[in-house]
């Protein structure tokens, strides 16, 4: 995911802002990381360059 997309993402549950934490990044995009909703105490993963903003209790 390109870094600038972070500005248009929100928590899918409470619609609040997310904190971006980058673990691995190349010239193009963020490859691995997390999007954290502090209000819900939930971490949404970024894997293989794809942010997963599905409610985390239904995913593995």
């Amino acid at each position: 995911m390109k870094r600038e997309l972070n500005d248009i993402l929100c928590c899918p549950v409470c619609k609040g802002d997310l904190e971006l934490v980058v673990t691995e990044e190349n010239d193009v995009e963020i490859l691995t990381g997390a999007l954290i909703c502090h209000a819900c105490s939930v971490t949404y993963p970024i894997d293989e360059g794809i942010p997963n903003l599905l409610p985390q209790n239904t995913t593995s």
């Binding site: 995911m1 997309l5 500005d7 248009i8 993402l9 619609k15 942010p51 903003l53 599905l54």
Partner: protein
């Protein structure tokens, strides 16, 4: 929802391939799109539409299907895995949607991502209703939606959903299939722009 795969290799057989409905919706979307548009496609499937869109400010796709998301990403498409547009803010001036529309009873429901991509619920209109209710959160006040509807979903019932959920609608493109099915592309706009 079908089970999540453990591996990260996409399976193309689990993704809806482009067909007549895809081509019709792409044509309508490219007639509607402006260079300044911020475009969201909900449920990108094969990513055929977003890949062939005319140039715009930003094009972004969502899909709940992990295989579709991985395939889109390998093509360089901006992809977010989320349900409809749930993880996105109010930012988009054009939203494109080709809903799952095959009427599907609970007994027919399969454990397969491709079947999930076709499953329109018992009357074929469940995803249309869910989309119309939820998309207002991400659509700009002057934003437009282009959406494909099939005669299998019943046009007048779908139009009722558009009105009830706060949209004005017009038919912008149409195609008759050999088997008698009719496809239409509807353009939706907000009925009342919010003014404070």
């Amino acid at each position: 929802m079908p089970p999540y795969p453990t591996g990260l290799v996409p399976d193309k057989n689990q993704v809806y391939s482009p067909r007549e409905d895809t081509f019709l919706l792409l044509r309508a979307a490219n007639n509607e799109i402006l260079p300044a548009d911020t475009v969201l496609e909900v449920g990108i499937g094969s990513a055929y539409i977003i890949w062939n869109l005319s140039p715009c400010k930003l094009a972004l796709g969502t899909d709940i299907n992990p295989h579709a998301a991985l395939l889109a990403h390998t093509q360089g498409v901006n992809i977010i895995r989320t349900d409809f547009a749930d993880g996105l803010k109010k930012y988009f001036s054009l939203v494109i949607f080709n809903p799952p529309y095959l009427p599907t009873s609970p007994e027919e429901r399969g454990d397969d991502w491709l079947e999930f991509a076709l499953d329109g619920g018992p009357d074929g209109r469940e995803p249309v209703n869910a989309f119309c209710t939820r998309i207002l959160n991400v659509l700009n006040d002057s934003g437009r939606v282009v959406m494909l509807i099939s005669s299998l979903q019943d046009f007048s019932s779908c139009e009722e959903i558009f009105s009830k959920t706060g949209f004005n609608y017009t038919v912008v493109d149409t195609e008759k299939m050999e088997d008698g099915e009719e496809l239409r592309v509807y353009k939706l706009t907000r009925k009342n722009q919010m003014i404070f």
